[in-house]
Symmetry: C2
Subunit: 120 residues, 2 copies
């Protein structure tokens, strides 16, 4: 079974995660057969490792990690691949992969432009 992890940066202020919780809600409504978990790089729980463990316990054998980041800087180019590889070693029975950051997607960028245009 495939599953998905929405992977964000994390922040000290717990209210920062509100859009991530909304993303999970939307995902569950629209893709009820594909389990989803959030995971955070730092300052918030669960970690990527904890999210993988949770999905493996629900019988996921293929997990796609979606980095909910705009830009691909040091976190995604350096920290994230190391973290993903470490998770893969810990859970050899599951196939882990990752998409590009959501900020690479034209439809996401277009939605941001539309949001700005509506504010004019």
């Amino acid at each position: 079974m495939k599953a998905i992890i929405l992977f964000g940066h994390g922040a000290r202020d717990n209210r920062w995660r509100e859009p991530f919780d909304r993303l999970v809600g939307l995902w569950r409504e629209q893709n009820p057969n594909t389990p989803v978990e959030l995971a955070f790089l730092e300052m918030m729980q669960p970690s990527l490792e904890e999210a993988v463990a949770a999905l493996v316990s629900k019988d996921a054998n293929e997990i796609i990690v979606v980095p909910v980041f705009f830009g691909q800087g040091g976190h995604l180019r350096n920290d994230f691949p190391v973290l993903l590889e470490s998770c893969q070693k810990q859970f050899p029975g599951v196939k882990l992969s990752a998409t590009p950051a959501v900020g690479e997607d034209l439809a996401v960028l277009q939605a941001i432009v539309d949001f700005g245009a509506r504010a004019l």
Copy 2:
């Protein structure tokens, strides 16, 4: 004349800004009569103050700042209002306002969910 600033966090790695440059390109194609500038909270140029100055020099008298952030944590709840107020004091002839973070917008969140679903 109205103008817009797309305001991001900034990062050490210059490649992080690529989606922001794409956002500006999309904006200019689609809203050619509304000048746009990027601005960054930290680690990248221009600052919010520099972007406001650039738009004022193009005769903008109303500037809407769109925070290109997912979550509203300490940066947007604490640092950003102070920065915006400081810019307003420096440029009393322009009306500055801000939208919520783009991560508050349902269409932006939906585009992220769609991106994840296409990766399944």
